[in-house]
């Protein structure tokens, strides 16, 4: 078996908020992988016909499901914004300490704004699922 390179484990470093942003990228990514199951369930229900789609809509529109869906939406907003930051780093941009810390704050602000906006549009005015 090949020995593939590992990511640096964080426990040996002094804590910085940029570390929290880094591990949050990983946590939101893993969390969204489970969201794929919900997305495929939704598509399979639509493929199964109107009755099954109606049952899926009731399930996905229930209060506990809404909380889970909102958590997926929040995870997406953060992972997307921070993913753009990672792509910029990969292009060699913004790697200086000051720039990396500033972009971390910008990412948090953008993710929060995007989450509040899309959550409002999806769930408030016309009750989205229901």
């Amino acid at each position: 078996m090949h020995e593939r390179p590992l990511s640096p484990h964080l426990s040996i470093y002094r804590f910085m908020y940029t570390m929290a942003l880094s591990i949050l990228h990983r946590i939101t990514g893993v969390w969204m992988a489970f969201g794929l199951c919900a997305l495929v369930y939704w598509l399979m229900s639509a493929a199964a016909g109107e009755a099954q789609y109606g049952r899926a809509t009731v399930l996905l529109g229930s209060a506990p499901a809404r909380i889970v869906l909102l958590l997926w939406l929040a995870a997406f907003c953060y992972h997307f914004a921070n993913g753009l930051r990672h792509l910029a780093w990969d292009a060699g941009l913004g790697l200086e300490r000051r720039a990396a810390r500033l972009s971390g704050r910008i990412v948090l602000a953008l993710a929060l704004l995007a989450f509040l906006g899309t959550a409002y549009l999806l769930f408030c005015p016309r009750a989205g699922f229901a």
Binding site: R4, V30, A33, G83
Partner: protein, 128 residues
């Protein structure tokens, strides 16, 4: 200047020789997902999601099916590569690691196949 650590030189094992392809594949997936995921989120906001006819007609019309299949494929691809790295970082027992990697690949293969099947079935049923 050599970038290899003294331990690496002594052990003489070199690099694993396969990191770059994985790294690059994950970035390509991420790049594709930037426009695709934004498009999908905007569509979700605009669709009346409880309306079966509206949703299935939207899936079947125009280029939507193409973007949806691409989105699904890229999400499963990016997700599989990401979970793989997490497993490699945190699961240390070789047997358990191999089992987890296999399960990861299998689960994502099932997800992408099931999703694509559902999308095609909706689209090929014909617009009602």
């Amino acid at each position: 200047m050599s970038l290899r650590s003294p331990l690496g030189v002594v052990l003489g094992r070199g690099s694993a020789g396969e990191g770059v392809a994985h790294w690059w594949a994950q970035r390509l997936g991420a790049l594709a997902l930037v426009p695709l995921s934004v498009w999908f989120l905007v569509a979700l906001v605009r669709l009346p999601l409880a309306d079966y006819a509206a949703v299935t007609i939207w899936i079947a019309s125009g280029w939507n099916l193409v973007w949806l299949v691409l989105l699904l494929g890229m999400m499963c691809w990016h997700s599989r590569l990401g979970i793989q790295v997490v497993i490699e970082d945190y699961v240390h027992s070789p047997a358990l690691k191999q089992a987890a990697l296999l399960l990861n690949s299998a689960a994502h293969a099932v997800l992408v196949a099931a999703g694509a099947y559902a999308l095609l079935r909706i689209a090929l049923r014909g617009v009602p």
